[in-house]
Symmetry: C2
Subunit: 217 residues, 2 copies
């Protein structure tokens, strides 16, 4: 039975799962959800995710939401297919992957997402980007990236010398961020830049990036 | 070798780990971190967690931070001790635990924490609580709790008919929230109230709650 992913190929959280599916060499059917007509707030979708957010994964009778939880499930279920993303056989490495997944979730995304939102989404809604919000978050993001720079001077990837979900989860927002005028925050940090160049040219991501046209002219 | 937990018994993220350690029947040494003198921003602490946040767990040579990642590690390492908190032998149940852990992390905490912060912390810093922030988040929290009410009408706990990390992670913030004037948001929802009464009287939590004196007169 083919995996069904409900979402949008421009959405950061949907693409987070799509990249993982490609890394694990899994076929899937992408079922578009029309956010503009609020299809995600209708009963049929709310029955799959009561919070009304994309993505949702259906694997037979199992229905999952929250992109990072979906990816942990995929990484565990298909641990012997494609690239190993969570090191399930090594308790300490697996724990370190989880630590840096939480860093992405609680330190990185909360600072990078308002910048991407203000730069790309606010204008679509007829609002001027709030430069104060952008500036405050650029400062916070710089501090987070200083920690990444030190970390990545010792290991090739965030959780160690192996690519994992901890790295993968950074791809969608960073991809959009690199199209803003502030990409130097990444490019000016030697080890962060090398890490970004490495993870953003993996074939599993390149397949997905083609559809991430949000913000393009 | 005894587990070392660096943190504070009033901190929500430190107590999240302490509760887990008690559930897993693990002895540990709590090493206080003096946040008031910014001990957490000094080199000795930053070497353990470069983001300067509590808690940090040391298990022999392994150093971990981010409370939810620490708890996943403890739940996996000590899966045969104390209460099973992540259902590691059942892939679908384990995935559902992760989904509701992410819900706590991305839907629940971001709405409940500003309320607790404004009510208890702002006055300590000489600021009046911002009632607009409180009201906005009470409205959002009510919507999240509506989903919980529906969910908990079908299963006894968030991930199923078993207590898990998904429930446990709610304890610290909800405990403080129940001391605010808005506890009716929990008490007026029948199934949420029954769930709260159940999870908040577990012995592992009662041991920790004694030290959660923040906001007491």
């Amino acid at each position: 039975m083919v995996l069904k992913l409900h979402g949008l190929p421009m959405s950061t959280s949907t693409t987070r799962v799509m990249i993982c599916l490609h890394e694990k060499a899994q076929d899937f059917e992408l079922i578009p959800v029309d956010l503009f007509s609020q299809e995600n707030k209708q009963p049929a979708f709310l029955a799959k995710n009561p919070f009304g957010k994309v993505p949702v994964l259906e694997d037979g009778e199992l229905t999952l939401f929250e992109s990072r939880a979906i990816n942990e499930y995929l990484a565990q279920k298909f641990k012997d297919s494609g690239h190993d993303l969570i090191r399930p056989e090594n308790l300490n490495e697996c724990a370190t992957v989880k630590v840096w997944m939480e860093v992405e979730s609680h330190q990185y995304e909360p600072t990078i997402s308002p910048i991407v939102y203000q730069h790309f989404v606010a204008p679509l809604q007829g609002k001027a980007p709030d430069q104060t919000v952008i500036d405050q978050n650029l400062e916070k993001l710089g501090k987070v990236l200083d920690v990444y720079e030190a970390r990545l001077s010792g290991t090739k990837y965030l959780a160690g010398d192996f690519y994992s979900l901890a790295d993968l989860h950074h791809l969608p927002y960073t991809f959009y961020f690199m199209k803003t005028p502030w990409a130097s925050l990444i490019n000016d940090r030697t080890h962060v830049k090398a890490w970004w160049d490495d993870i953003s040219c993996r074939p599993a991501f390149e397949k997905v990036a083609q559809g991430m046209t949000f913000g393009d002219k």
